[in-house]
Symmetry: C2
Subunit: 272 residues, 2 copies
């Protein structure tokens, strides 16, 4: 395995770009192959069986691109498929759930942690299980927020309707006196300021994307797979693939990433 | 082709059950094979290319069940895939767009028709094209309402938040002085009373499901394919298939259909 090989990063759609952006910031010498499963998005309402099948196809596609490591930049796929897939492949693979959980465990002072995520991620119980495996004395409260993704995709990031819905979803977490809240879906950091207002300044918000990039760097270092520094004057050319709607993907991507994507390719993912 | 063969009805998910329900009411002797593509729902945000590919797989599955006719109980699939698919198969196939459009054309008095639907259906321009082919003097105003489906799926049918969002979406249609509004997505009839309140009593709401069942009966009659009357004391056993999450589908189905579904089977639709 060459340290100059790219890193595969995937999500059910565009949300994982918040993780890709964090990797670009923290380890800028790494080339990313991003795949967004826009033909079958969202995953958050689907079953474990189906999500594992989708993730297997995506991993097979990324393997054809000779990636040296894979980042599951999707909470639902991390929660439902990571444990199965990591037993099936020979390259390192990490998800967003464990890094997010570790950060929250380190951050909480009163031992009460909240998790907001898709229906599937909450149902999986993965955040709770992993947090308790790190420290069984903590209390974890999960809450599914199914409308957050469509509201973000409608661009209603600073809308009073979104704030009202957020208040309803978050009300029971507020009553649990949590001091730390994991934003357990890659879309949610885009609602960070609004969620922060709802929860109040005493609650710390954890974005797993940041910690995932830290974990990835450590992993690459440990396995002697960190890319060589990019020569002065050259830039890394990341590649972007989707299963549908390249144009729509690029519009969203260009609003999130620090530079404009030029060419997104459509892949027939069901063929993998 | 036997007149005792079943009718295939499909949708991207659960919404098409509002069409299946109407068929059960109007032609109760017909047996239905329903397929909901719950693994890849929703279609409304996806491209024509992908939707045609999905519909081809579903039609191939329904053909293995020996259906005598197919109803595309999904506005997006009707708008994007019907014209292509009907050239490829030998059994009759109808969608919901044309019946809905015909009803609206017959109903309007001031010649100003509104259409609300998913982003993909509105982008296709299919309702507008077909309405104008029936009467080029009419004016048609389309509006995509992307949050309606997730709001319905959250059960927020009578919520003031849903009403506020509806008012925003419908405001520009109200300004166009329409007297007829097509509910161009199978989920929307579940918001009928709320949409009616927003639009006012002078606007007629058209639910394409009703007219689709009328068209289906006419088609079967014309082709001598109407099923024989069910003998006294016997009942028709409809069959339900999904690509994911049978249990969740049944919960929704049992809230819509006049009787409880007993056994929903999961199909690997990508294999067709």
């Amino acid at each position: 395995m060459s340290n100059q090989a790219p890193i595969g990063v995937f999500d059910s759609g565009v949300g994982g770009l918040t993780v890709a952006r964090e990797i670009m910031r923290q380890i800028p010498d790494e080339k990313i192959i991003y795949f967004g499963d826009t033909a079958r998005v969202p995953y958050g309402s689907k079953s474990q069986f189906t999500i594992i099948r989708f993730v297997r196809q995506i991993v097979r596609f990324l393997e054809t691109r000779d990636v040296k490591a894979i980042v599951v930049a999707c909470n639902t796929a991390s929660a439902y498929a990571l444990e199965t897939i990591e037993r099936e492949i020979h390259i390192p693979i990490i998800g967003v759930v464990k890094p997010g959980a570790r950060t929250a465990v380190a951050a909480t002072e009163n031992g009460r942690i909240g998790v907001i995520a898709t229906d599937a991620t909450i149902r999986s119980g993965m955040y709770t299980r992993y947090i308790l495996s790190l420290n069984p004395d903590l209390a974890v409260y999960g809450k599914a927020c199914p409308l957050f993704v469509p509201l973000v995709e409608e661009g209603m990031l600073h809308d009073h309707v979104t704030e009202e819905i957020a208040n309803r979803y978050l009300d029971e977490l507020k009553k649990q006196d949590i001091d730390t809240l994991i934003l357990g879906c890659t879309h949610y950091p885009l609602l960070r300021s609004l969620i922060g207002r709802c929860m109040g300044i005493s609650v710390q918000l954890v974005n797993p994307a940041y910690e995932t990039a830290v974990s990835l760097r450590e992993l690459l270092q440990e396995k002697h797979l960190l890319a060589d520094p990019v020569p002065e004057g050259e830039t890394v050319h990341h590649e972007f693939y989707v299963s549908d709607g390249a144009e729509k993907f690029e519009i969203f991507a260009n609003s999130i990433l620090p530079y404009d994507i030029r060419k997104t390719q459509v892949v027939d993912i069901e063929a993998f």
